[in-house]
Amino acid sequence: MQATFKEGMMTKNNVTEEIVKDCIDGNDVAWAILVDMYIGVVYKAIVLVLNKYLDHTDEHDVNDICQNTFLKLFINNCSVLKSYDQNKSKFSTWITVVSRNLAIDYIRKIKEKNTPISDIVDSLHMGGVTGREKISVPEDVISPRQHLVLRMIYDDGLDVEETARFLSVKRQTIRSLHHRAIKKLREHYGLGAGQEKSSCPADTTQS
């Protein structure tokens, strides 16, 4: 570990990058630092997921999944840790996704154990959304982002504010994406321009 910390300005990402390399090289001190740096992120993700899906969250379960998360990075010659691509995301985001997926896997196992097989088969056939029929969108008529915005608003029932927050954009951007998508779809189906401005049904705010 001692050789990897350089003098001068280093961002947390740079530091993490060096620590991850040292962990892969089998440096015990680097592993201790990695655990200290990210145990909070892992713990938070696991507690929140268990709280959401289980009636009762057992602290022992949370601890077990935390242990499993770091163990998963460590075992098998660090194959999972090696798969982390520092050019694509921050380590904190990546390990949040990993921890959350392990927590989901744990919940799945509990639910499978306690659920009649017929219910599991039904839930598989249900897909993700509830009973409402999905809107049909022809390919290549609207952009992927416009398509996603329509799904978020019409299939998932999000409002403009929520959609904007999830996509980290301004509300006006969502209104604009929605408007352009509807306009293109109207043209595609030969329905003419329609209203001068298509109002977004999920738009409860003005700005």
Binding site: V49, K88, K90, L102, R108, G128, H147, L150
Partner: protein, 107 residues
């Protein structure tokens, strides 16, 4: 939006760092962990971002994952039990690094 509108929990295809998962990814299924995290961090190239958004538009399970992880990231820190970090470190130091027997855990 609390995710309760969805019946399923978690995309079963998203696995990271093992061959089977990468083959699934190549077959055009759900984005892998790196790509998903990159999308959440807004660090993907435009073409890759379009590809993820195309997938999210068609996959309600991944959309639910996306909502849930975004909300996790937006939540403030939680106080971590003091002994937990030491316990994790001890476990790593005493583990031989071999894969744990039994069912493979998907991440």
């Amino acid at each position: 939006m609390d995710g309760a509108k969805f019946n399923s929990i978690g995309c079963s295809d998203r696995i990271s760092g093992n061959g089977a998962a990468e083959k699934k990814k190549e077959a055009g299924n759900c984005p892998d962990t790196n790509t998903f995290a990159g999308y959440l961090d807004n660090k993907l190239a435009p073409t890759e971002r379009d590809s993820v958004e195309n997938h999210l538009a068609d996959c309600p399970v991944c959309r639910n994952d996306f909502y849930e992880i975004r909300m996790l990231m937006d939540q403030g820190a939680k106080e971590t039990p003091e002994a937990l970090a030491d316990s994790v470190k001890n476990n790593l130091q005493t583990h031989d690094g071999a894969p744990t027997p039994g069912r493979k855990i998907k991440i």
